[in-house]
């Protein structure tokens, strides 16, 4: 008999529904049937581990991936990966990607009339340390227009992919910036039902993280599903 120590169910209100027509790309892509509830098995409570370094070297400085430095406001982006009980999640892979300071992605499908920056790709990755910490040096991404509705603009954001200890804990999300006037109008940000959960997606300006005469500091913690304290026999 295998004992299964399950991960908590996703908390009501903390997660968006895929059926969210305000974001028009969901209309033809969201499932119409409710998902089938599956009691977690060994398959769901396990997942890739990253201690051996197989995911490749950390890429933590997004300002030094080319010959010169990218334009834009330099930003230290740091935080921790935690579970719901506040315990650090060590040795897990964090991947980020973002637009350049002008709001343009280094991607063939992005034809927005803003300049590419030959010194900026906008990709980083890092395996969290023993305290669950990560830290990147980048530039603040610009806002950009998108064709969701007329004259729609995405709030400034950085994309995050985080694994956590199990297949059940894996998430892909976006980090936003405090005080961004576009947040109020952004249907992707507003797809998270609870206000407190939405605010979890907004980073915090941290003067202690900023480095004098060098870079602004933004702090963003990622909180993954926690785990039941005791195993369930059946």
């Amino acid at each position: 008999m295998t004992e299964i120590r399950e991960y908590n169910a996703e908390r009501t209100g903390s997660q968006p529904s895929n059926d969210w027509p305000a974001y028009t790309s969901t209309i033809k892509r969201h499932p119409q049937r409710e998902p089938v509830a599956l009691r977690q098995t060994l398959t769901e409570i396990t997942g890739p581990t990253f201690t051996s370094g197989w995911a490749g070297p950390d890429l933590v400085d997004l300002t030094k991936q080319h010959k010169g430095e990218p334009l834009g406001e330099r930003m230290i982006l740091a935080g921790r990966v935690l579970d719901e009980d506040g315990r650090p999640v060590p040795n897990t892979l964090v991947e980020i990607w973002q637009a350049n300071a002008a709001g343009r992605y280094c991607h063939p499908n992005d034809q927005h009339a803003a300049p590419l920056d030959p010194n900026f790709t906008g990709r980083g990755q890092m395996v969290t340390n023993a305290k669950g910490e990560y830290r990147f040096l980048s530039i603040i991404p610009g806002a950009y227009p998108w064709r969701n509705t007329f004259n729609a603009w995405r709030a400034q954001h950085v994309h995050f992919s985080v694994f956590g200890p199990a297949f059940a804990t894996r998430i892909i999300t976006q980090m936003y910036f405090p005080g961004d006037p576009l947040l109020e109008f952004d249907p992707i940000y507003n797809s998270v039902p609870d206000e407190a959960a939405r605010k979890r997606l907004i980073s915090r300006y941290d003067p202690n993280l900023s480095e004098a005469e060098w870079a602004l500091g933004y702090r963003f913690d990622v909180v993954l599903r926690g785990r039941h304290a005791t195993p369930a026999g059946l």
Binding site: N18, V36, W54, A168, I188, A197, R198
Partner: protein
């Protein structure tokens, strides 16, 4: 212990996920053929409600090795690990919506209680237009353990059950080819799981 922090909500991976997530080498789980077990190719299309393939989806898989053991500290079964098999794969769909993995057929793993799960692969799908990734499972048509698999057999409607079962498409370069389409919406919509 009561949970104290609100979990981070998911957001769409968006149309430019390739910048951060493209890792073509992760589509081969066999360490260039060195992994133990029967080599398989798992491939298919990701399709929307109009039947249009998604050129901008990311498919990730997680599975046991050929002996039915996960490379993870919580798998305490007395079964061998394979130094050439990690069990995780990622494939971004191409312009025709096709994803493709080279892997090995997983062994059976225990289910809850005293049950045995048929060989299966866990799948996660993310894309523009998906605010939350989707979870599904791939089973293998004709496997003798399928009828007694607790998850598969919990789905009563045979038409729905079929959406979780890959079809055999013969062999290519010595590997059995398994086809598994992921239909996000509408006719033939894949069964997705919540756990």
């Amino acid at each position: 212990m009561s949970a104290k922090l609100i979990p981070t909500g998911t957001q769409t991976a968006g149309p430019y996920l390739h910048i951060g997530l493209t890792r073509p080498e992760w589509a081969d789980l066999t360490d260039a053929g060195k992994a133990k077990g029967d080599k398989i190719v798992l491939e298919g299309r990701v399709i929307d409600g109009d039947g249009t393939p998604l050129p901008d989806a990311i498919v990730e898989i997680w599975q046991a090795n050929a002996a039915g053991k996960y490379e993870h500290p919580d798998d305490v079964q007395d079964k061998p690990l394979d130094p050439h098999f990690r069990g995780f794969g990622r494939s971004c769909t191409d312009k025709d919506g096709i994803y493709r993995f080279t892997t090995v057929k997983p062994g059976a793993v225990p289910g809850r209680g005293n049950t045995l799960q048929a060989p299966h692969i866990a799948v996660s799908i993310a894309a523009r237009g998906l605010l939350h990734h989707l979870f599904t499972r791939v089973y293998f048509a004709g496997d003798s353990l399928n009828p007694s698999d607790p998850v598969l057999s919990s789905i009563d409607d045979p038409a729905l059950q079929k959406t979780l079962v890959a079809e055999s498409k013969g062999k290519a370069n010595g590997a059995a080819v398994w086809h598994f389409d992921i239909v996000l919406q509408g006719k033939g919509e894949t069964v997705f799981f919540d756990f």
